[in-house]
């Protein structure tokens, strides 16, 4: 900030020079040298890098004339980078796509409709999970082939569970309800301990000095917390795909209230000051520090738990079921091809490889991520079994009551308002109803205004 004008000018000039430079040498970040085409493949998950690099190595072996640069951009910057990249026509040729952003990318015409290519190549798309494939299709258009899927499950610290007298089987059958809390809250009460060794349901419990919370819930948009509680309570975020937001309906507000109660009424969940984005430590870190005994997280973080916690010290169980039964967010990614790539043929080769059974098997068998081809699921589960972790709860979840990511063109507004308002809800500074009303009003206004 406080820099003299000359420094600022110099910085501006340097910045402009840099921008000029990268634009000049980057182009669409792919270049043809001696008959070899170089593609850029952009992803956001650090823990999946190794597996995808291994897959790309195979691809390069089979296609000696194509080189692929794997570019990793953190989720927090990923979409800004894509959008500014699209504006300056400096885009990766192939990149990870997320349902939250699919409608916007499609609207802007940045991504390629693959349907004619799929037809021409005579690809058998029946190998993919139909639920996943359908999300990437709209009418006759297909924007991607399912590369993986994810659900949310409970991750717990084994020794803390044992100390509280809870078994893995009990963890798989917890239920909650908004008024009494159910067996879920009862279990969390056993797991929550203050500095004097007292539990929240005991006299003299010191809620200001909690040593370990029963659970830590952290999600910038709700995927790993209130969306799941919502689904288990009969809440629908939208009236239909691409429809109006219905976040402020009673079933949703009640679910949000339940999560606020876990923090403020029952004192079994880590407060917002520990879990709010952006200052919160990530969930694997919170568990490894012993700040919480359990958490809800997606399978994409399994590798992170494995490296943060001693081997064999943690386990996976199903999410608790609520008044409306079980429920988890079920989501998946695909690879998108940049609409203006200079090498559409090579990019399509890469897309086909990444969505092929061979590549998905390679990635799944390494225990990196569940595959978009259901017949390969066992490879992922086996890989984790070998590491001593039973991950079937994720698969059970995917086969039960699920919700997909909301499909909407107002996703960026929704994310923004949710982050702002729910940070305050989890700090006890805003009521769930007020937050839900605000999110609903602003997100619906963004649909009508077209942004």
């Amino acid at each position: 900030m406080l820099k003299p004008t000359t420094r600022r000018l110099a910085a501006t000039a340097a910045c402009a020079a840099l921008v000029g430079l990268t634009a000049a040498c980057g182009g669409s970040s792919s270049a043809k040298a001696g008959g070899t085409v170089t593609l850029t493949y952009m992803t956001w998950q650090d823990s999946e890098k190794a597996a995808y690099q291994a897959s790309l190595n195979e691809f390069e072996k089979a296609h000696p004339n194509i080189k692929v640069n794997l570019e990793l951009v953190a989720w927090a910057q990923y979409w800004t980078k894509l959008q500014t990249g699209a504006a300056s026509r400096n885009m990766p040729d192939v990149f990870w796509d997320h349902l939250a952003y699919l409608p916007q990318l499609a609207k802007e015409g940045i991504i390629t409709d693959l349907s004619s290519k799929i037809k021409a190549a005579n690809l058998d798309t029946s190998i993919y999970s139909p639920k996943l494939l359908a999300q990437w299709q709209s009418g006759s258009v297909t924007y991607g082939l399912p590369k993986d899927w994810d659900t949310i499950a409970t991750i717990y610290n084994k020794s803390m569970l044992a100390k509280a007298g809870l078994t893995a089987d009990q963890m798989n059958h917890l239920t909650w309800d908004p008024s009494t809390g159910g067996t879920f809250v009862a279990a969390l009460q056993k797991l929550t301990v203050d500095v004097n060794g007292k539990h929240p349901n005991q006299a003299g419990f010191d809620s200001k000095h909690v040593k370990t919370y029963g659970i830590a819930l952290e999600a910038p948009n709700g995927q790993q917390d209130w969306w799941d509680f919502g689904l288990e309570n009969g809440c629908q975020l939208q009236d239909k795909a691409y429809g109006k937001w219905t976040v402020n309906t009673p079933a949703c507000v009640q679910a949000i209230q339940f999560e606020q109660d876990l923090r403020d009424k029952w004192h079994v969940a880590a407060p917002g000051s520990m879990t709010n984005t952006p200052n919160a430590a990530d969930l694997p870190t919170i568990l490894s520090k012993g700040d919480a005994a359990t958490t809800f997280d997606g399978d994409w973080d399994l590798t992170a738990f494995q490296s943060a916690m001693p081997a064999g010290s943690w386990g996976v169980s199903a999410l608790p079921s609520g008044p409306a039964g079980t429920g988890t967010v079920f989501n998946g990614l695909s690879d998108a091809i940049y609409a203006h790539t200079k090498h559409p043929a090579e990019a399509w080769e890469l897309e086909q490889w990444l969505a092929s059974a061979a590549s998905e098997k390679l990635v799944a068998d390494s225990g990196t991520v569940w595959p978009g081809i259901p017949t390969l699921n066992s490879g992922f589960a086996t890989a984790w079994k070998a590491k001593g972790v039973d991950v079937t709860a994720f698969q059970t979840g995917s086969e039960g009551n699920t919700m997909g990511y909301p499909l909407t063109t107002s996703n960026t507004t929704f994310n923004n308002v949710v982050l702002q308002d729910f940070n305050q809800v989890w700090l006890g500074q805003m009521t769930p109803q007020a937050a839900a009303d605000d999110v609903n009003t602003k997100s619906n206004a963004a649909i009508t205004s077209g942004n």
């Binding site: 900030m1 406080l2 820099k3 003299p4 004008t5 000018l9 501006t12 000039a13 402009a16 800004t80 959008q83 500014t84 699209a86 504006a87 802007e108 015409g109 940045i110 200001k208 407060p271 917002g272 000051s273 520990m274 709010n276 984005t277 952006p278 200052n279 520090k289 700040d291 960026t412 507004t413 923004n416 982050l419 702002q420 308002d421 940070n423 305050q424 700090l427 500074q429 805003m430 942004n451």
Partner: protein, 323 residues
């Protein structure tokens, strides 16, 4: 810049050669010479002028034009006239951001200036090791704001951070600094005060050293005490430095972005969303480039007014010549 230096006109050999045959008619020759002088001067400043126009004036005009459009950075911009300005009038979040920015400036500038002045006074003496201290205090300014932001975020962590640990040693339970709507902004301000006080101190120190010793000696003869000496001599004669420091620091404070981006991302709620951060959100998170341009103009006008006010205040009161 030496654009109006008379030396330029006669500097090159080509000039003197051309000057020679035109002595008869004085007036046109002078005018021609003046034109030539002007042309040469512009040629000499051309490189920096080009940079100024290309990288400063043009983008500023661009922002004004953009504020009349609706644009998501990718699709074709759509002309919307003054719609972005009408939207601004009804956008409570924008005015919250303006309020937060003013609050930050009000926290940051007085604390930083007073601390810097105290430090400058303390270090304005001949003492062993004084240079080491001067360097130490300037070090934070030389560090990367983003890296510092991350380190301070750790320090202010409510459970594992150093700040609350130190407080607990004296029996105080520290608040949840960065997740509290009350404390987040003061924390951000204090991090910036910490970072830029040394830099401000440098300028004030230079200003102090430019005040002639004789004035203090004369005052001592007249029996002036330390307090009077500070308020009647030091402070008034420090105005040129103070002027520079306040102008640049106030402008910089209004543009606060990096610390907020790293430490709070505008939260909790909107408690640390400064106008500059709000502009970033609108442009690069929500992709409302046209509206962001409108907000940038608001920031520009705010800074312009405040800076003009400072100029008016200082112009009447500043003495540059001590002799």
């Amino acid at each position: 810049m030496t654009t109006n230096s008379p030396g330029l006109a006669t500097a090159g050999p080509s000039l003197s050669k051309q000057d020679a045959p035109a002595p008869a008619v004085a007036a046109p020759g002078r005018r021609r010479r003046r034109i030539r002088t002007t042309v040469e001067a512009y040629l000499l400043i051309a490189p920096s002028l080009a940079g100024f126009l290309l990288f400063l004036v043009l983008p500023i005009i661009g922002v004004f034009v953009l504020s009349l459009f609706s644009w998501d950075l990718v699709s074709t911009p759509e002309f919307v006239g003054l719609a972005n300005y009408r939207r601004l009038a009804g956008d409570g979040a924008a005015w919250t951001a303006v309020g937060n920015t003013v609050y930050y400036v009000a926290l940051n500038i007085p604390a930083q200036t007073v601390l810097a002045l105290a430090l400058a006074l303390a270090l304005n003496r001949k003492m062993r090791g004084v240079k080491v201290f001067r360097v130490l205090f300037v070090l934070p300014w030389m560090a990367m704001p983003v890296a510092l932001g991350i380190i301070w975020t750790w320090a202010f962590d409510p459970r594992h951070g150093a700040v609350n640990h130190l407080l607990s040693l004296v029996g105080i339970v520290g608040p949840n600094w960065l997740t509290s709507t009350t404390w987040a902004m003061p924390v951000i301000a204090s991090v910036n005060v910490w970072q830029y006080t040394g830099y401000t101190m440098l300028f004030l120190l230079a200003g102090l050293q430019a005040i002639p010793e004789q004035i203090y000696e004369a005052a001592a003869v007249d029996g002036v005490n330390a307090v009077q000496r500070f308020f009647k001599i030091t402070l008034p004669l420090l105005r040129p430095s103070m002027f520079f420091v306040l102008i640049t620091n106030v402008i910089g404070s209004f543009q606060l972005f990096d610390t907020v981006f790293v430490m709070t991302q505008g939260g909790p709620g909107t408690s640390t969303t400064t106008l500059n951060y709000y502009i970033y959100q609108q442009a690069f998170q929500l992709f409302h480039a046209g509206y962001a341009a409108t907000l940038a103009i608001v920031l520009f006008v705010m800074i312009l007014l405040v800076t003009a006010g400072q100029f008016l205040y200082f112009r009447k009161r500043t003495v540059y010549d001590f002799s």
